[in-house]
């Protein structure tokens, strides 16, 4: 009797597991993604205290499926240096913008079509477009919409450009 009950529980568990896993994977793939932020490259916006507790952010995958991002958004991208790593940086410039770079091989860059310029807020401690140049929009993974941990840092992340970082104004407006 006990054996039969046990087998029934096992069957229920296994069938539930196979439904739950594909649904979870689809949600993670298409809608949202939760990620722990490591490192100091986005201080003071993310991980302001450094070592004590890493921020956990909610990455919105739905809004980047059409590659619509604004200047000032914090986004996660697949690293051009390591395809298995995701990096979180701020979008400074969109395609067509002229950017004055901080430590790139060229002083001024026109961002090519289909590319973005991303920078970490903590200049000098960030591996970003100043190292590897404009990144292709095809590498966009998600937009960090909220900080969800630790609880005292609960907030919605609004797009904002750091002071003096942004596209240069050109004379002709289109």
């Amino acid at each position: 009797m006990a054996q039969q009950a046990g087998r029934r529980y096992l069957r229920a568990f296994v069938s539930g597991f196979f439904v739950a896993v594909p649904v979870t994977v689809t949600v993670l793939d298409r809608l949202a993604y939760v990620a722990r932020v490591e490192g100091v490259s986005m201080q003071p916006s993310l991980n302001p205290e450094g070592g004590s507790e890493d921020d956990v952010v909610l990455l919105d995958r739905w809004s980047v499926r059409n590659f619509q991002v604004q200047r000032g958004d914090v986004v996660s991208v697949l690293s051009p240096r390591n395809p298995q790593q995701k990096i979180i940086k701020r979008v400074i410039g969109l395609e067509g913008d002229f950017i004055r770079t901080l430590s790139y091989k060229n002083r001024y860059v026109r961002i090519p079509d289909g590319h973005l310029w991303i920078e970490g807020d903590h200049h000098g401690h960030s591996l970003d477009s100043n190292n590897f140049g404009p990144v292709s929009m095809g590498l966009l993974h998600g937009r960090a919409s909220h900080i969800i941990w630790p609880p005292n840092r609960w907030q919605r992340m609004k797009p904002s450009l750091p002071p003096n970082r942004g596209p240069l104004e050109t004379e002709d407006d289109d």
């Binding site: 395809p83 079509d113 590319h115 292709s136 929009m137």
Partner: protein
Amino acid sequence: MTAEIVAKQFLEAVRSKDLLWWLSGRSEHTLLSGPSMEPTIVNHDIVFSERLSRHLCKIQKGDIVIAKSPFDPNMNICKRVIGLEGDKVCTSVLSDLLKTHTYVPKGHVWLEGDNFRNSTDSRNYGPIPYALIRGRVCLKLWPPQSFGTLSESPTKAIIKSQSGSNSD
């Protein structure tokens, strides 16, 4: 082509395990347009690609891949992988007298179309990040007379690495 030949090619594809990836739902079929991969793939062919190799980082030199275009994320390109990170690739065009070479940077791949006279690829826009690759083309589905696995590179553009195995 006779049904026998088609069936033989089908069995070869199953044996090479590519159909299993398709059944697992991690693959897609794509209609290709353009001349850049002739004669291996011609205009309006439908090919079948799997995504597992890309996620396991098992894309190899000589594979035909489908990748997002670096200049338009909504467009896809289909080219052959000529070089992986660290490989030496030839960047000169046919008209150059001197051959120039470059090394593929970390995390990138060098793509070229089989129709080297009529293809916009890494020789024009440089190496592209590995993460832009969507999948590896493993089977041609249409037209039915050329159904089956795809052939090796006709251009001999792939420089075999000196270190490692002596026979390829």
